[in-house]
């Protein structure tokens, strides 16, 4: 198929359809309105259903129901809307249902602004709602990758029977880039879900629930979930860029910031400084071991850069023993760093 020029949001919508998703429930919020807009036009064409719910709380509970019935289903929102969904996400995690949730992050806290941000990292990777649970979190850095990861997100959700969060920001959502859809699966060809509540004629009823009143049972369930989250490490993903054979400074960044850093690296080359990039693609599970290996090859130090006051920074600090080697540079409030700002930071660390 030929490449098409698409907005990140539109590519995410089309990728979901290519992944066999035929149900979208959501509520509008900038800067991700192009996803529901696209789905509202596209889903009826492929026999799907689009519902604009009365609120984010309603939308996430529609996901709960549809996922319980064994359907591939998604929603999308932006930071404040994702906050409203947290209770539902916790129930979905507790009930072990596969859903895909897209968060095109904007600045917060509160209503914040509508410009790009990465300040929902904690919420995305550490649970978000109540209870001891995790979402699988994917962070695309381009429109093509947003489309590719969207398709993978549905497979990962099914594999782990767990919510998968695709974490982008306003820049990834609003930007247009060429995109190609490499695969397509029809809903009828998807693997069977024998646990789903599809009608129990001639079999025992399936029950989907997150209620365990007996402490012993809930404890067992919690440890079962915990083992599942641990097992997600087999699907950890990252990109190591320009760091073969070591580098002067290793930049650790994901999503939008990682691609800005790629421009900085070219400018740094001209100054005789070799900067590498370690880009986590899965934010949970976090590629900590790979990061530690890559950081060992950075002669002058490690620069963590984010569109937050330092959230992923804490995971990097956890995995790298020598904290003295870690520097941080963040822009917040919707402001996005220019490549030159990272050039300055790296130059300082390199001592050049």
């Amino acid at each position: 198929m030929a490449k098409k020029l698409m907005k990140g949001c539109e590519a995410i919508g089309e990728a979901a359809i290519k992944a066999g998703c035929r149900l979208f429930f959501g509520y509008p919020i900038t800067p991700q309105n192009e996803i529901p807009e696209y789905m509202s036009a596209r889903l009826p064409q492929v026999g799907g259903t689009f519902v604009q719910a009365e609120s984010e709380v309603a939308a996430i509970n529609m996901l709960y129901g549809a996922a319980g019935a064994g359907c591939r289903v998604m929603t999308s929102s932006s930071s404040p809307g994702i906050s409203l969904m947290q209770e539902g996400i916790s129930y979905i995690a507790g009930s072990e249902l596969p859903v895909v949730i897209v968060n095109i992050m904007r600045g917060g806290p509160g209503l914040g602004g509508i410009l790009p941000s990465q300040s929902d990292y904690f919420q995305a990777t550490k649970g978000g709602g109540h209870g001891d649970y995790r979402c699988f979190v994917l962070a695309p850095s381009s429109v093509q990758e947003a489309a590719d990861l969207m398709i993978d997100a549905f497979d990962l959700a099914d594999k782990y029977r767990n919510p998968v969060l695709v974490l982008g920001d306003g820049l990834i959502g609003q930007m247009m880039e060429p995109v190609e859809f490499k695969s397509e699966i029809a809903p009828d060809d998807l693997p069977a879900k024998p646990w789903a509540t599809t009608g129990c004629k001639e079999r025992k009823p399936n029950i989907i629930n997150s209620l365990y009143l007996a402490g012993e049972q809930l404890e067992q369930h919690n440890w079962h979930l915990n083992r599942k989250y641990e097992s997600m490490k087999q699907d950890v993903r990252f990109e190591l860029y320009n760091a073969e054979g070591g580098c002067d400074v290793l930049i650790v960044a994901y999503g939008t910031v990682a691609r800005i850093a790629k421009t900085s690296i070219e400018d740094l080359k001209a100054k005789g400084i070799k900067a590498g990039i370690f880009r986590p693609i899965t934010l949970y599970p976090f590629p900590g071991e790979a990061l530690a290996k890559a950081a060992a090859g950075a002669k002058a130090g490690v620069l963590v850069s984010e569109l937050s006051c330092g959230q992923m920074l804490e995971d990097v600090q956890f995995h790298l023993k020598d904290r003295g080697r870690i520097s941080f540079y963040g822009r917040v409030g919707g402001m996005v760093m220019a490549p030159e700002e990272l050039v300055d930071q790296v130059t300082k660390i390199a001592g050049a």
């Binding site: 490449k3 020029l5 900038t30 800067p31 602004g113 509508i114 410009l115 306003g170 820049l171 609003q174 930007m175 247009m176 880039e177 060429p178 691609r259 800005i260 850093a261 790629k262 421009t263 900085s264 690296i265 070219e266 919707g334 996005v336 220019a338 490549p339 030159e340």
Partner: protein
Amino acid sequence: MHNEIILAGFGGQGVLLIGKLLAYAGMKEGHQVTWMPAYGPEMRGGTCNCTVVISDKPIGAPITNSPHGLIVLNLPSLDKFEAKVRPGGVIVINTTLVTRMPQRSDVIAVPLACNDIAQEAGAAKAANMVALGAFVGATGIVDVKLMDEVLVDSLQARPKLIPINQAAFKRGYEVGVKYAPAAAAR
């Protein structure tokens, strides 16, 4: 080849559209491209801009503080972006609405009355196409025949508008090419 271009004007002047056409043509020519609209608070104030990057290499930052080229359809846009353009960069200025020339002497200014020229070509609304034509003419950033194909392609839903937009683009292009030697020598 690596080009970063900012296109700016009032909302409704079609700067996002000509940015898309430019990116689309760049993609058809086999380059890497990004198109990034400013969707934030400045858009709420009535002004509008987007950044297009066309490159031979994978594109990192889709936004820029130092564009190689600038198209401004109104005065606030020139005020905002003039200082950012790289030395030797091309600035297409819509003199129908912009009452001054750039204050810098190290850029190549391509002034033309886009709205007036578009009116002569059939519709004042096609002022954006005049500006795009001038930019393509001065910079040769994409093949002009390919640009025409893209233009026709994008107007398939409203075929009546094709000849007017083609004429507007051509009029702009003819002005732009006069600046091509200066732009090439930068």
